[in-house]
């Protein structure tokens, strides 16, 4: 069975993604239909950040994945050279 840590991390991921989805849906889909002097607008960043933040996060993720793959390949090549 999945250990307690696994369950904690897994359900934490589920909860985080649900919260993110609801918040982003509110921000993108619902907010344009609410009057701009309504108080709910103070809980959201200006509208251009709704595009800038995901794009920046995606670029960071791609960069991280690239660095990780580079690191793993470099390490495995060093390992293979040593075993020759």
């Amino acid at each position: 069975m999945a250990t307690a840590t696994d369950q904690l991390v897994g359900f934490g991921l589920v909860a985080f993604s649900l919260v993110l989805f609801v918040y982003y849906t509110l921000w993108i889909i619902v907010l344009p239909f609410i009057d701009s002097d309504h108080g709910i607008h103070q809980y959201f960043l200006p509208r251009e950040y709704a595009v800038i933040i995901p794009v920046a996060a995606g670029l960071l993720l791609l960069l991280f994945i690239g660095v990780f793959i580079m690191f793993v390949m470099w390490k495995s090549r060093k390992h293979a050279k040593k075993s020759d």
Binding site: M1, A2, D6, Q7, V9, G10, F11, G12, L13, V14, F16, S17, L18, L20, F21, Y24, T25, I28, I29, P32, F33, R47, A50, V51, P54, V55, G58
Partner: protein
Amino acid sequence: MPHPAPPAGGARCRLSSELQLPSSPARGAAVTAHLGTGRGAAPAPGAAPSQAAMTKLAQWLCALALLGSAWAALALAPPGLQPPAPLRRALLPLPVYLLVAFGCYSLATVGYRLATFNDCEEAAAELQEHIRAARADLRRRGLRLGDQ
């Protein structure tokens, strides 16, 4: 990117359908083939012919192009087709929104599968039983196995 892998876990805990122990003497060689290559020579279920894969890719590309052109047509707002301002403000970041929603779904799937990961104990016992039977069968035919 536009080909979401099915959530892993549909095909776990299914040993008895793949590792049928051959019982008739004519298929004795199949035991060694199974033990040698692991999965045996049965075609993998995911290995579709390349033509079908192209069709799937073409389907995805077609749907993406259709959605993208519809979005572009609405977002560019030609003079004859002016959506009201709030709708237009919701429409402009829609591709990014769909991307974020897909990422949320993927993250939630990974988290859920991680939290409900299970051990396949009866499948493990079944596999051990198969290995024991195969060893006994091979030993009975005079093959000397490495251990014992």
